[in-house]
Amino acid sequence: MIEVKHLVKRYGDFEAVRDVSFTVEKGRIYGFLGPNGAGKSTTMNIITGCLAATEGEVTINGYDIYEDPVEAKSCIGYLPELPPLYTDMSPEEYLYFVGRAKGLKGKALDDGVDRVIAKTSLTPMRSRLIKNLSKGYRQRVGIAQAILGDPEIIILDEPTVGLDPLQIIEIRDLIRELGKDHTVILSSHILTEISAVCDYVIIIAAGKIVASDTIENLTKLNEGKSYIDMDVRGSEDAVKAAAGTLEGVGGIEVQAGENSTHLRLEVPGKEDIRDHVFFTFAERRLPIIAMQYEEVTLEKVFLALTESQKRNRAEEAETPEDTRIRAEDIFGQIGERQAAEQETSAPETPAEETAPAEKPAAEAGNDNDDYKPLFGGN
């Protein structure tokens, strides 16, 4: 369906997208997940032909987006980050315009517009001017525009931004429904949104794909993995010895503190061994003064992946090897991350997704304000 090969987008010296490759297959819902500025919108803009890539190629149903743009674009419905709406039109007029531009005519056009208006619950607003609509309704008009004409591929860039919780649920249901007979790609920086609707996740950070797998695979790897963090009053050696006798523990980390010893246990099995841990330490007369149980969630996978990628961004610029991480490697990084508990604030990498466009000057006012009357003639 969609093949993206070695996509690179540079803005001057800044690489917004760095060697991104993936394939999208028919009939699935793909989630593009990444923090703000990761390059999600840039990648989507390139796939839909709104931006040209510096390097790499994109083919849609066999049509190259640069060589055969019209054929390639007719397979796609796209909702950009900011819905591209003509605010001097009503949703109905606007959708008729988009439908005609997509090549719909006559009854197919009428039916198509009616259907998308019903699907996005725009009926009460269909003849109001778009400039008088709230952000949520504007977003819906944008989605309606993207799905109009039943394109095979629907690409939605952050479709639920600005919607209220009820609308978010409605739109998610709509996306799930669309996923039954369309290929949907949607981007978000919110993990729960992606895991709620998508079959397949592509995690992107600092312009690179750091993981791409099905939701099942990513969650399967998480299953039953947990950590136990404890503070124990006792010497480092005693704690280490006690921990060594525990069964079903994958890894042990010991760190001497001021009044206590910090112990961190990695538990690979599904079993909850906290009772066992408690009695073992009690028998050895090592009082546990704090114990915390932590399960690995998809969210942690995501954070670990994206943060490490951000940190490495500068160094990786020199080593062009494939840094795509296998799911098994993820957990080592989660360990690192959780060990460094204090590090909660992510290092911000300013990764601009749009071209540094010229600053728009003051909003254009009345049409005639700028002119002095000229008199002349021959």
């Binding site: 803005y11 001057g12 803009n45 839909t48 032909g49 709104c50 931006l51 040209a52 743009p69 019209v70 054929e71 674009k73 007719s74 796609i76 796209y78 950009p80 900011l82 591209p84 709406l85 003509y86 605010t87 001097d88 039109m89 007029e93 315009f97 988009v98 439908g99 005609r100 531009a101 997509k102 090549g103 525009q145 071209a355 466009a357 010229e358 728009p360 000057a361 003051a362 254009a364 006012g365 049409d367 005639n368 700028d370 002119y371 009357p373 000229l374 008199f375 002349g376 003639g377 021959n378």
Partner: protein, 287 residues
């Protein structure tokens, strides 16, 4: 393409732009016709037209300033890029919509010679020939304005620059006459133009090697030509500048000459700037 054309027309006529444009043009034509033809008793409608052509300096930027700048500003250009419509069709549709707006007052003007005919004998051929040239001049100016609008995100900048450029072409014939015809002056002028082209290249591609290279090559060509065939430069700069005087071609029509080269000239200017607009839109995707 027709969808975009219809949308553009809808937005011009449902908004204030087209009514203001049409009203302003008709008002000024009406004033000039009243003064020249009705009160002055002069039988040629073309005289009124030649007087009224300066109105384009204001009316055309009003029409063209938002054509592409506003799309970029409101980010609706993303829709145009994503729709299965070629960029050429998008630009042509927008251009034709503006030409259609211009066709409305021009169509009304076609009635004026008929009105004048009631009061005396008038030369229909020169009147309608002038109206045609007036329309084509407008088409060429609209293409220039649309190109300027495609370069910026701000309608105000688009309008101000358009007024400036159109004013320059309006005054060009006079300016060209002031430049000395000597070979030295032309040589110096061409060197300045070569450097200016280099500056434009620098702004466009942001690569100093390329822009320096282009400037060096142009300067070399001009210098070599100057030393080999000096007489080539006699009056060359005023001739070049005169070629940019868009308005002056209209005056041969209003003087009663049907100048085919002027028609070809206007159509070429229109086609060139429509083409440049397509390129400018395409270039935006690469920045």
């Amino acid at each position: 393409m027709s969808a975009i054309y219809k949308r553009e027309l809808h937005s011009y006529f449902c908004g204030m732009t087209a009514p203001i444009f049409v009203a302003f043009l008709l008002l000024m034509t009406g004033i000039y016709m009243t003064v020249y033809n009705l009160m002055g008793g002069y039988p040629g409608f073309e005289a009124a037209l030649s007087g009224v052509s300066f109105v384009f300096l204001i009316a055309v930027p009003v029409l063209t300033m938002r054509s592409l700048a506003e799309e970029k500003h409101a980010k609706t250009d993303q829709l145009l890029y994503a729709l299965p419509v070629s960029l050429t069709s998008v630009v042509l549709a927008k251009y034709l919509a503006m030409v259609t707006v211009l066709a409305v007052p021009t169509g009304v003007m076609c009635v004026y010679p008929l009105i004048l005919n009631r009061y005396g004998t008038i030369g229909f051929a020169s009147a309608y020939g002038s109206i045609l040239a007036f329309f084509l001049l407008g088409c060429a100016l609209i293409a220039v304005g649309m190109f300027i609008s495609s370069l910026t995100e701000s309608q105000v900048i688009a309008a101000v620059v358009s007024v400036g450029v159109l004013l320059l072409t309006y005054l060009m014939a006079g300016l060209a006459g002031m430049i000395p015809e000597s070979t030295g002056a032309s040589f110096a002028g061409f060197l300045v133009i070569a450097v200016l082209i280099g500056v434009v290249v620098q702004v466009m591609v942001k690569n100093s090697t390329v822009s320096m290279g282009v400037t060096a090559v142009l300067v070399a060509i001009v210098s070599v030509l100057y030393f080999i065939k000096e007489d080539l430069f006699t009056g060359a700069l005023p001739d070049l500048l005169e070629a940019l005087a868009l308005f002056d071609r209209l005056y041969s029509f209003t003087n009663g000459i049907f100048d085919l080269t002027a028609i070809v000239y206007y159509l070429t200017v229109a086609a060139l700037f429509v083409y440049l607009t397509v390129q400018s839109m395409d270039k935006k995707r690469w920045s």
